[in-house]
C-alpha cells in the first residue's frame, strides 16, 4: 500500500467517523496519522493520544503488530478510554516475567488501565494467525452488533523516531 493509499484510507476513515463509526475493515495508518486524525480535536482526545504514544513507545522493541478499536477511533468527542491490541514477538511470553516498570505496566491489565487509560489486549505470535484473525474480527462489530472498522497501526519507515 502506498503512502497515498494510506492517506486516502485515513481520509475515508475520518469522513466516516464523523458519523461515529469507522467503516468496516482493517484500516492501516501510522501512529502519527492516528494521532493526527484522532488525537487533536478535544483535550480528552489529546490526553488519550499522549497515553497511546507512550504505551506504543514502551512496547516498541518486541511489538510485531498493533491495532486500535473502540471509541477513540470513532467520532466521539470524549472517548472513555483506549482499546489496543499488541501482538508481540514469539518468545516474549518468557521475557514478560523479567520485565520491569514501566514496560511491565503495559502488559498488566490493572496497571495499564490506571496509567494509560487503556484496555490493552496482547498475545505473542505463538497464538497463531488463524486464532488471531478470528479474534480480531470480534472487534469489527460493536457490542450492539453494528459493523465497524479497526485501525492497524503500521510502522512509518520515513520517521526515524517511528514507534
Amino acid at each position: 500500500m502506498s503512502c497515498r493509499d494510506i492517506a486516502r484510507g485515513c481520509n475515508e476513515l475520518t469522513r466516516s467517523t464523523a458519523k461515529r463509526l469507522p467503516p468496516p475493515g482493517v484500516h492501516e495508518a501510522t501512529l502519527s496519522e492516528v494521532v493526527g486524525h484522532f488525537g487533536t480535536n478535544t483535550p480528552r482526545r489529546q490526553v488519550l493520544a499522549s497515553r497511546l504514544q507512550e504505551l506504543m513507545s514502551l512496547a516498541r522493541e518486541t511489538r510485531k503488530r498493533s491495532a486500535i478499536w473502540g471509541s477513540f477511533v470513532t467520532g466521539k468527542l470524549f472517548p472513555r478510554d483506549l482499546d489496543v491490541f499488541l501482538l508481540m514477538q514469539e518468545g516474549f511470553g518468557r521475557e514478560f516475567s523479567a520485565l520491569s516498570p514501566p514496560q511491565w505496566y503495559v502488559f498488566e491489565h490493572e496497571s495499564a488501565r490506571l496509567l494509560f487509560e487503556a484496555d490493552i489486549f496482547w498475545a505473542t505470535e505463538a497464538i497463531g494467525a488463524a486464532v488471531l484473525a478470528s479474534w480480531l474480527s470480534l472487534y469489527q462489530l460493536t457490542r450492539d452488533m453494528r459493523q465497524c472498522g479497526i485501525v492497524e497501526v503500521i510502522l512509518d519507515d520515513r520517521d526515524p523516531r517511528a514507534i
Binding site: 498488566e108 491489565h109 489486549f121 505473542t124 505463538a126 497464538i127 497463531g128 452488533m145
Partner: protein, 68 residues
C-alpha cells in the same frame, strides 16, 4: 444491550471466539504471560455473558406462534 435474537446469536458467537482465543493462549503462553494477557479478555467475556443472561432473563414478547 441485546434486544433481538440475532444480537443474542452474535454475542454467543463472540463468547465462543473469546473462549477459543483463551484456550489457544493457554497452550502457547507461559503461565505468567497467560495470567496477564487473559485478564482483560476474561473481564470482557464476563460482560458479554452478562449481556446474554440479561437478554435471556427478559420476558419474551407475545408472539403469534407462542402456545399458551
Amino acid at each position: 444491550m441485546i434486544e433481538i435474537p440475532e444480537q443474542f446469536e452474535r454475542t454467543e458467537e463472540a463468547i465462543t471466539q473469546m473462549k477459543r482465543f483463551l484456550l489457544a493462549a493457554r497452550r502457547t503462553h507461559t503461565p505468567a504471560a497467560y495470567a496477564a494477557l487473559s485478564a482483560p479478555i476474561l473481564r470482557e467475556l464476563q460482560e458479554r455473558q452478562r449481556d446474554a443472561l440479561a437478554y435471556l432473563s427478559q420476558l419474551p414478547e407475545a408472539s403469534a406462534k407462542a402456545e399458551y
